[in-house]
């Protein structure tokens, strides 16, 4: 009983402010005749319309591109991170180049990506990968380089097989940092997918936004904006669930570190 009560209180503390904000928006905009700030009631009905009529044509492509871009980012980021983290000379050789390349904002690659991949999904996925794989890469390298020497001593003295060493020691040991990197990538990915849809695109939530703004359909523009917010929020929730499961040991460990270690 106590835990369900605790959970509902936690939920309440999390949702009260958004509810109040929406209510305020609703009331303040109710009588609005401004072209740019239509009543929220109208925006909501447009959200329904956009979701029902343009799910397959625009929302799904956005989600697919985002998902593909993030998956590729994570795979490349972790794989390259492993290589660079485990082979120090390689890291020393690549570090200056990496620092330079990651300083380039992902969106700055739009022109070249347009040229190389055209205006289709490939271009959008490429933009996301280029912008979002850095945090995964850098955090993986940091995580691996930060592994306790004692853990490495244990692995060597017990002749742990290379595959077990990689999958059961190195990756889990670095996982808190890898996951922190992925979390940054997810938010970068959402930014980049929208940005890529603003440029020479024919589909996507960002495209709906741009098009409706051009046609002075501000209610649709706001509806797409709300959808983007919801999309970002849901991806974060999904991420938190995964993180919660994967890093249970890490929370437990920190719990005892703060508490009663002798």
């Amino acid at each position: 009983m106590k835990t369900t009560l605790g959970k509902s209180t936690a939920l309440l503390t999390e949702v009260w402010l958004p509810i109040v904000a929406l209510a305020a928006w609703w009331i303040l905009s109710n009588k609005s005749t401004s072209l740019y700030f239509p009543p929220l009631s109208r925006i909501f009905s447009k959200v329904g319309e956009v979701v029902t009529t343009r799910f397959a044509s625009d929302i799904l492509p956005s989600l697919q591109n985002l998902g593909a871009g993030l998956c590729i980012s994570v795979i490349i980021g972790v794989a390259c991170g492993l290589l660079l983290g485990l082979v120090p000379p390689l890291y020393s050789a690549f570090q200056p180049l990496l620092e330079f390349m990651r300083a380039i904002p992902g969106v700055a690659l739009l022109p070249i990506a347009l040229f190389l991949f055209g205006i289709g999904s490939d271009m959008k996925v490429a933009i996301i990968v280029f912008g979002a794989f850095w945090p995964v890469l850098m955090n993986t390298i940091d995580g691996i380089r930060g592994i306790d020497v004692l853990i490495k001593d244990v692995s060597r003295s017990y002749s742990i097989k290379p595959w077990d060493h990689l999958t059961r020691i190195v990756l889990p040991a670095a996982s808190p940092q890898i996951i922190a990197g992925i979390r940054i990538s997810v938010s970068l990915g959402v930014i980049l997918i929208v940005a890529s849809e603003y440029i020479a695109s024919t589909e996507g939530i960002g495209y709906i936004q741009l098009l409706s703004a051009r046609q002075y359909q501000m209610d649709v523009m706001w509806a797409a904006l709300l959808l983007l917010g919801v999309l970002g929020y849901l991806s974060n929730v999904l991420f938190r669930v995964v993180e919660h499961r994967l890093l249970r040991w890490h929370r437990g460990l920190r719990g005892t570190d703060l508490g009663g270690q002798k």
């Binding site: 004692l150 853990i151 001593d153 244990v154 003295s157 017990y158 059961r168 437990g252 005892t256 002798k262």
Partner: protein, 289 residues
């Protein structure tokens, strides 16, 4: 192979041999010799303790013996084989138990990990071996927990179980009981006697606690000086089985402890006029236990 004959003794070939080991950290200006010319033998089924003050280089010596770090000169043999990397016949229990177990794995998985991929061992065999090892350290009911859910003493017992499941001929232990409370410590000392009797493993245990070394060992190797070298090897002829209360209250025990303390003290840099203040850690006296 020819060198080793020199260390041959009446009791046969030693299980573990350290031959003129020395270790210098750094090079050039920053070179710092920690170990200087350390030689000793450990024979089959023996328990040998190495005592030396904090910072003497005990961990350094143990890492050289375990093949985790090359020595600057000299060599280590396990049987007649020269140690060039971590030998399969050796298992190590590290000083810092809270860092030597994998926190993302259960106790059971920690113990099984070194057995994975060993030829002729099925998953069921592994599990069985892990369970036996955990039972022999009294942790059969904690197999599904994570290390951080256990007390310090229990974590070190998991580390011991992991070493036992590995079925080594030689067990190296680096100050295994240094960071647990006194009661747990004496329990773990007795556990060491028990597993020794049960597994017949040869044990080389490093400690800075002189009482502990006398209580556990057949022989005590006393390290001191800068750079550290073997001052004396003291045979401990106390009868077995030993007991925390009766053994530790015999006059023989007190005499041996006093003798070793004297040996360690005599070579303390603090008592010599040439001691440098920078060597603060070396000045700390050993625990009286």
């Amino acid at each position: 192979m020819t060198e080793i004959t020199a260390t041959r003794s009446k009791t046969g070939l030693p299980t573990l041999t350290a031959q003129a080991l020395s270790k210098t950290y750094g090079s050039g200006q920053n070179a710092r010799q920690v170990l200087g010319d350390i030689s000793f033998d450990v024979y089959d089924h023996e328990t040998v303790c190495i005592v030396g003050p904090s910072g003497a280089g005990k961990t350094t010596l143990l890492r050289c013996l375990a093949g985790l770090m090359p020595s600057t000169s000299g060599s280590v043999y396990i049987g007649t084989e020269k140690v060039v990397g971590p030998p399969r016949r050796m298992a190590v229990v590290f000083q810092d138990y809270s860092r030597s177990l994998m926190p993302w794995m259960t106790v059971e998985a920690n113990v099984e990990l070194p057995l994975r991929g060993r030829p002729g061992l099925t998953a069921a065999d592994r599990r069985h071996r892990a369970q036996t090892a955990l039972a022999s350290v009294g942790l059969e009911n904690s197999a599904k927990l994570h290390p951080w859910q256990l007390s310090g003493g229990m974590q070190q017992r998991v580390a011991i179980a992991r070493a036992l499941a590995y079925e080594p001929d030689v067990l190296l232990m680096d100050e295994p009981f240094a960071s647990v409370d006194a009661q747990t410590r004496s329990d773990l000392e007795d556990l060491t006697h028990t597993i020794k009797a049960k597994y017949g493993v040869t044990i080389l245990l490093v400690t800075h606690d002189i009482s502990e070394s006398v209580y556990l060992a057949d022989r005590v190797i006393v390290l001191s000086g800068t750079p550290t070298s073997v001052t004396e090897i003291v045979p401990i002829d106390l009868p077995s089985p030993r007991d925390q209360i009766t053994t530790k209250s015999t006059p023989e025990f007190a005499e041996l402890r006093g003798r070793i303390l004297g040996l360690v003290r005599r070579h303390q840099p603090a008592t010599t006029s040439t001691a440098e203040p920078a060597n603060g850690s070396l000045m700390k006296g050993p625990d009286l236990g």
